[in-house]
């Protein structure tokens, strides 16, 4: 049997139920406003920045800024305990984080042997409802805000990552595939002892 992560997926799933309870406090709201607002932002950025690459960068930056704030809300409300390794971290993002904020879950797959690179597969995603890209936007990574959010949130819990879209349904792929690559784990330095 292959070595398994110390905590099984079941333990994480048990967490999801708890999150669903917490979810009530987060005031889930109809996604339409969110989806249309995001669409309007992308559209305005395309007008103002002109270059598709610049828009990709800006969306990523906005996501990053959101991620570094959202991690606090996540930690406060999810009740998730410290992840033992990157594998567990990826599962928590896929099953708890995405569920809590976006109402979706992802499958974690394509692990490399070192356990530092994997993919989140999303069948579906509230950012892209009603969206179709015109030919002039072929280079656009429409969901780039999401990769930024993940990168920002992980950086706040001491993980430097590179997050990239490998597959995108708006570009004709059969799913969304978000690759997470752990670059560096910054050891946390406490000014105090953890158990005090």
């Amino acid at each position: 049997m292959a070595p398994v992560a110390p905590r099984s997926g079941d333990a994480i799933f048990a967490n999801v139920e708890r999150v669903l309870l917490v979810f009530c406090y987060l005031v889930p709201k109809n996604a339409e406003l969110f989806t249309l607002t995001y669409g309007a932002i992308v559209r305005q950025l395309l007008t103002d920045l002109e270059e598709v690459d610049e828009v990709n960068k800006q969306l990523d930056q906005m996501g990053y800024n959101i991620g570094i704030r959202l991690i606090d809300e996540f930690l406060a409300k999810s009740n998730v305990s410290r992840c033992v390794d990157f594998k567990e971290t990826a599962e928590v993002i896929a099953k708890v984080g995405l569920k809590m904020f976006q109402g979706i879950t992802a499958t974690v797959t394509n692990w490399d042997v070192e356990g530092t690179t994997c993919s989140l597969i999303l069948e579906d995603n509230p950012l892209v409802d009603f969206v179709e890209l015109p030919d002039s936007c072929q280079g656009l990574y429409y969901c780039n805000i999401l990769s930024g959010v993940v990168r920002g949130a992980l950086e706040m819990v001491s993980m430097k990552t590179e997050v990239t879209w490998l597959r995108d349904m708006l570009r004709g792929d059969d799913a969304f595939e978000l690759q997470l690559k752990l670059l560096k784990q910054v050891p946390e330095e406490y000014p105090y002892k953890d158990d005090e």
Binding site: K29, I66, L70, G103, P126
Partner: protein, 175 residues
């Protein structure tokens, strides 16, 4: 469609729109930043009102359309209705939300309250905090203008926060 996202997602986007446009691209040009933020809101309001009115008969007059904004539209977007509606019966309507959601988590400098109506971004430039709040309000103002424009009612919308945490939106219908 039953899809739901957490409310913090929408609020996060709003924060980022304002900071990208005010601190990033148009740091020295608050008027331009304001116009862009309003334009994003306009687009959203236009599309939302299209969706929310799909199964309705056409509104017969302005008041009916404004009431729709106060009740159904506001409930969909903010989970509550507008608390008070006033009109001078000559095309001006004042919609007051006693606890406007998008301001409820912002810290507010009490000295701003004397500033009252926020309409002119250049006048706000001196007071950074007032400017920040004002910039956040261009988005909902745009949403209302977009929604009404989709219903065939061209208008101008401004916001008044002289009674925080209440927020009033002043709609002036163009004759």
């Amino acid at each position: 469609m039953g899809r739901e996202v957490s409310e913090s997602c929408v609020e996060s986007l709003l924060t980022e729109i304002v900071s990208s446009y005010c601190n990033g691209f148009y740091a020295d040009k608050p008027e331009l930043a304001a116009r862009r933020i309003e334009a994003i809101g306009f687009q959203v309001g236009h599309q939302l009102s299209e969706r929310y009115t799909m199964d309705r008969p056409r509104f017969t007059d302005h008041l009916e359309a404004i009431k729709f904004i106060c009740k159904d539209f506001w409930s969909e977007v903010f989970k509550k209705q507008i608390d008070n509606l006033k009109t001078n019966h000559r095309g001006t309507f004042v919609l007051q939300d006693n606890r406007f959601r998008w301001l409820s988590r912002m810290s507010v400098d009490p000295s701003i309250e004397t500033l009252g109506s926020i309409q002119d971004p250049s006048a706000m430039a001196e007071n950074k905090a007032a400017q920040a709040i004002g910039m956040h309000l261009y988005f909902p103002c745009g949403i209302i203008r977009g929604a009404l424009s989709n219903l065939g009612i061209p208008c101008a919308v401004s916001a008044d926060i002289s009674n925080l945490p209440a927020c009033s939106f002043v709609i002036r219908i163009k004759a």
